[in-house]
Symmetry: C2
Subunit: 321 residues, 2 copies
């Protein structure tokens, strides 16, 4: 962990001295990445700095509610590069993979400290929480737009303050952002609770096939379901999280068919059963409570194998208890 008042002052000095600041975050940016970039950029601009934002492509559509599309500009200035929410330089957009990174601000414990100055605080629930801390320490005025972006970063990374890394400081920081004009209700609705019509139809198809075998609850998303619902997202429309919220599911499994011979399997555990061990048996991996694997078999074969292995693993675990 690299974090001290000294470093935060060095970062401030570097920003003060820079003619141009280019803000970058990881590819496929999530809510915390986008919120951190927008909130930081807005605030620095409000303090008279020239700031460029370099998303992998553009501001992702689902976060456009934060502000209008960012103009791509060229500048005559030579500036500094500041990365946020990126643990590893290899996850930056290609143009930045080999460049000198001046400042690296992040909350991932796995951060490789690839910057000249590194401010990494793994105790923060979100990078947006760190950015807010820094801006307040530097006494920079935070506008309502910036406050909304930073609050969005915090609530998306904590799924609305419900992940275990949410601390009292996280809540106090969110409170401070609301004081500065952010709307918690609005950010919550736009970034977390809203569903699309297509995703809702997909939920209907998937939940209508819910199965329970002992302490294992599972269901299936077929290619047919995706087609009928019109759901084009690459992900599971948050169904994995829904399954793991069922009290009776010691283990929940989502079989997400990708094509005739490929199934993405996601395991979740509500107990001490380590599902990463299950995923690794199928060439996947993950955490004790959340793991996944991609299995190159038909849906039927995948289900048979995965259920058999999961059941015997659970039995083995129960006999050890």
């Amino acid at each position: 962990m690299c974090k001290s008042p000294l470093i935060s002052q060095s970062i401030k000095q570097k920003i003060d001295d820079a003619k141009l600041i280019t803000l970058v975050t990881h590819i496929r940016p999530d809510g915390d990445a986008v919120g951190s970039v927008i909130g930081f950029a807005e605030t620095l601009r409000g303090n008279g700095k020239e700031v460029h934002i370099a998303f992998e492509e553009t501001l992702p559509v689902r976060f456009r509610f934060l502000k209008e599309k960012e103009e791509k500009k060229q500048s005559a200035q030579k500036g500094i590069i500041l990365t946020v929410d990126c643990a590893d330089q290899g996850r930056l957009p290609k143009a930045f993979a080999e460049q000198h990174i001046d400042i690296n601000i992040d909350h991932h414990a796995t951060n490789t400290n690839f910057g000249e100055l590194n401010y990494v605080n793994p105790k923060a629930a979100a990078t947006a929480e760190i950015i807010t801390d820094l801006l307040m320490e530097w006494e920079m005025p935070i506008s309502p737009t910036a406050a909304n972006a930073l609050l969005m970063g915090i609530i998306t990374d904590t799924i609305g303050f419900r992940t275990p890394n949410t601390t009292p400081h996280t809540l106090n920081t969110a409170a401070a952002l609301i004081e500065k004009g952010a709307s918690l209700t609005d950010m919550y609705q736009r970034s977390l609770s809203d569903m699309t019509w297509e995703a809702s139809l997909l939920w209907g198809f998937a939940l209508n096939k819910l199965q329970k075998e002992g302490k294992i609850i599972y269901t299936v998303i077929t290619c047919e379901d995706r087609k009928k619902s019109g759901f084009t997202g690459r992900d599971d429309a948050d169904l994995t999280n829904f399954l793991s919220s069922i009290q009776e599911a010691e283990i929940s499994i989502l079989f997400n068919q990708q094509n005739e011979n490929l199934v993405k399997v996601s395991w979740r555990s509500r107990s001490n059963v380590n599902v990463a061990n299950l995923a690794s048996q199928f060439g996947g991996g993950g955490h004790p409570a959340a793991a996944g694997a991609e299995i190159k078999l038909s849906l039927q074969e995948t289900q048979q194998k995965v259920l058999a292995v999961t059941k015997s693993y659970l039995l083995q675990y129960e006999n050890q208890e």
Copy 2:
């Protein structure tokens, strides 16, 4: 609004002087009612007071995770009666409907100030937020059990901090309770995100029948669905909230069949369309964004009438815009 440092000190004095304190809340207690009672009782007991809790029946099963069942005791002491989270004396358990109420602590704007001392703060997101404020003002040590109960009260009444009455003070109060040993993740999971197997099956049946007509999205829970799923709850298993989270639903409607000739209808609005006006046409009522009615017709007739009225109301609204 009756709230001042003076009143909080008078309440403290009355509690200090009392030999026995009986804590009461409204019938059909929700999370805030239960959390306020348990959190307050635990703290007062920790400070050496004798406290009785008088729930309508017993501590509701779904809140038993907070503590073991409350023993019903008789006491020789004559004590004071303190109500929490109850806006109207008529909503107290029958035994208290006519009694002298010494202290009334609540956050409902409609509170009738039925107590001798009334501490009503409609700006608080939950009564548990007020109780926490008072306990901290009185410098009473709050145990982890009490902190969990109070935090549960806050997060259930704000649906995890997402209702518009959540203030910076609400978040700061929650942060203080975590500092005192409450677990936000645990309370969130147990009181908000957990689903039962039966409710999940009901979701599958209901979402598999999702319909969209223009800007109206609706679905149905039939008696058959309830029977097949085994869901015995009186409510809608939170399906109304799910429907209203669908972005495309300017108005969402849940038809919840009670028997052959009775359907509970719930409307939700995501725009400025006032659905209370719709509900009132069917003898119901509610708020502009959330309203309901009980309609004594078959499911089919109810759907036809409600959809026709809702569509024409929406058309009328759009023509006015």
